[in-house]
Amino acid sequence: MSRLAYRAERTFAAPHAHGDGSVGQTMFLVQLALTPATLFGFWLYGWPAFFLWTTTLVSALVFEFFCLRLMGRKAPGRALADGSALLSGWLLAMTLPPWSPWWVGCLGAFIAIVVGKQVFGGLGQNVFNPAMVARVALLISFPLQLTAWVTPLPLVGAGAPGFVDGLYIFLGQTPLPDAMTSASLLGFAKTELARGAELSQAFAAVGAPQVSWLGVRAGSLGESSALLIALGGAFLLGVGIIRWHAPVGVLAGTLIPALIAHALAPERFLDAHTHLFSGALLLGAFFIATDYVTTPATAAGRLAFGLGVGLVTWVIRSLGGYPEGVAFAVLLMNGITPLIDRCTRPRILGRTRGGEAIAAVGKEA
């Protein structure tokens, strides 16, 4: 009988099989889901939006690479290829005003990658969502640039800036023409309310902003098209990258109080429809509140997290000083994620929720 020469070169521990999937694949699928809304953003806001998006992503990659080098990681190029820095940069770009100058994207990427992620220890270690950290830091530091919304001018339409004009806008050389600046609906409502106007009258006025499923409105680069963002979210749900708990939580957390408040005081509170299609709510529900690293690990925890994000968003939008609150809400809930995790541990089989062994059953049967 022939002798088999095989010798294990070392010991191997079970399991000896592995399922599909990798970190890089997960990140890639999320990026794929973001693509339609991003392309729509380019079409809606023209060349400046494209330049901003590119700058933000490239900056994110460069900062990630240098951080990995500084931390002495072996093969920083390979770690870069997991796509996490690209995704953080991408999500940040989605939330920026589309005609922001180049340094906004660059600085934002720095804050997201270096301050938001790498100082905590890199991928998987950060407490707060990097894109939201950057968004909030920019908003507080540069309120003017971060609220400079433009009227949508479809890329092919008349009056849209061409490639060269777009480059000038992107480089901050051309100030935004007054005719093109516009308020977002949430900002408009906040201003009107602050003036003491009633919402119904304000919206009846000529030129009041509108919202729609399609998303041809003034707003951030990638937040406007509710339809395409929801499509991306549905795709992620379909391929099992995200689960329904966090998105449903966010939407319920905002829409339920919005419905109640609007029914009670329509002159004071925006309706649910407006909340849903405005600002970063849908992007936040499907792409931000579903970030693995900074949200709870259990299904119940994720639902609670989502509800918290939704509710805080509604509170800030309706009662706070800022017209939009998704980023603040996400950061706040990120902070209490460990607490939620602690309170929503699953029950261990054979134990009570408190951790005691359950009583024996079935002997009498």
Binding site: A8, Q125, I348, G350, V361
Partner: protein
Amino acid sequence: MGLLEKIFASTWGVHPQDYKRPAADLAARAMPTPERLFVPLAQHLGAPALPTVLVGQKVKKGERLADPQGAVSAAIHAPTSGTVSAIGEIAAPHPSGLPVLAVTIDADGADEWCELAPCDDPFALDPDEIGRRVAQAGVVGMGGAAFPSALKLSSSKKAGVNTLVINGGECEPYLSCDDRLMRDEAAAIVDGVRVMLHATGAKRALVGIEDNKPEAIAAMTLAAAPFGDVTVRAVPARYPMGSERQLVLTLTGREIPAGRLPADAGVVVHNVGTARAVSEAIRYGRPLVERLLTVNGGAACAPGNVLAPVGALVEDVLAFAGGLKGEPARLVMGGPMMGMALPHARVPVVKGTSGILALSAAEAVEHEREPCIRCATCVRACPMGLLPLEMARHIESDDLKGAVDIGLKDCIACGCCSYVCPAHVPLVQLFAFAKGSLAAEDRAKQRLEATRKLAQAKNERMAAEAREKAEAAARRKAERAAAKAKAEAEAAAANAEAA
């Protein structure tokens, strides 16, 4: 299960590609007895058996080679007739390849059975007698854990078990020996189940078979049809359905309390292979000396099921089963999820060997570890409701107690977490490491405690001795003083008399 759990409890477990066919559909092949068999004395959970044969002794097939030793142990029998040529060490079928004691038998080629004690009507036997005969036959759990079956049978009666669960789950990928056995030997299995019902005093038997084995379900249902107390049930194909706690929960709805045995829920679990071995042992008096096992894997030329004698070397089994396509990347005994990687192919088949997998490089591919991104896929996969990612975090920061606090000891080492982890974090491997460290800590603590007790006893003994010595000295001193006083008194009296 509460409403909250219904909403949030995702379906536990994983659905690995099973690779069971075509091996499962091919007829089993009986392997001719190799020239030499190496029968380990420790093939079961518990103490190794004590050899009762001498080198040079002639034995017949089924003759006792070694007696059980201690409360948890099992007898070992000769898998063929021949001569005991050595009682010495052989590499264990374990990743370490550490030596274990084994009886080496040079086969004489006759494969002649010794005299056996058949029984025509097992149901006329006393239930305890069945337990004794099963112990005589050296039957152990054939699903892999190899717990001595007689012990389970006898303790079940005492524990008041009312349900016998028969495990035909075979949830490990690649393996199909139980499937094959159920298709080919359904009547013998059902007979064994009925004997076990009699032995345990259980009222009913539930046979759980994963629904990816329709042929086995059909064969077993047919075989069980005449007997009202044996029910065959299809269970969803999902790893680890064949795990005791999960199968009992699925079949009976009963949850086994943490840290307790199924008997505490009125259930005892036996494998289908064990049921057949019990039938053989009782009906024909045949001890457990051979078993059906699956040879499979990408590097195996002709995957299929092989009836192999206990003690046959893995390399002989592989050669009989059609050989390998070149060098395998990994040899595994058992399934790919929980099986043990073998150090080499010169290790023997034992009673608990359900399969030998020769994995190709593509199957045994090793992934580089990436950082955990807290995706919680492991949380959804864990059949015990644990938080593998949190436990790993505790263990990697040397906080074993923290890991225990959140359920490390409830981990059944099924490997689902490692299987699904997209970052390829070695989760279950970390848990195995932590459990090993804790066990070592416990042992060290016990040793320390024993040393402390000895030292204390010595101190007490020394103190007692010193005390006794001091007392004796004091006594002697007192005696001397008394004698002196007496002498002085006498002297004084004499003086007085003289004066």
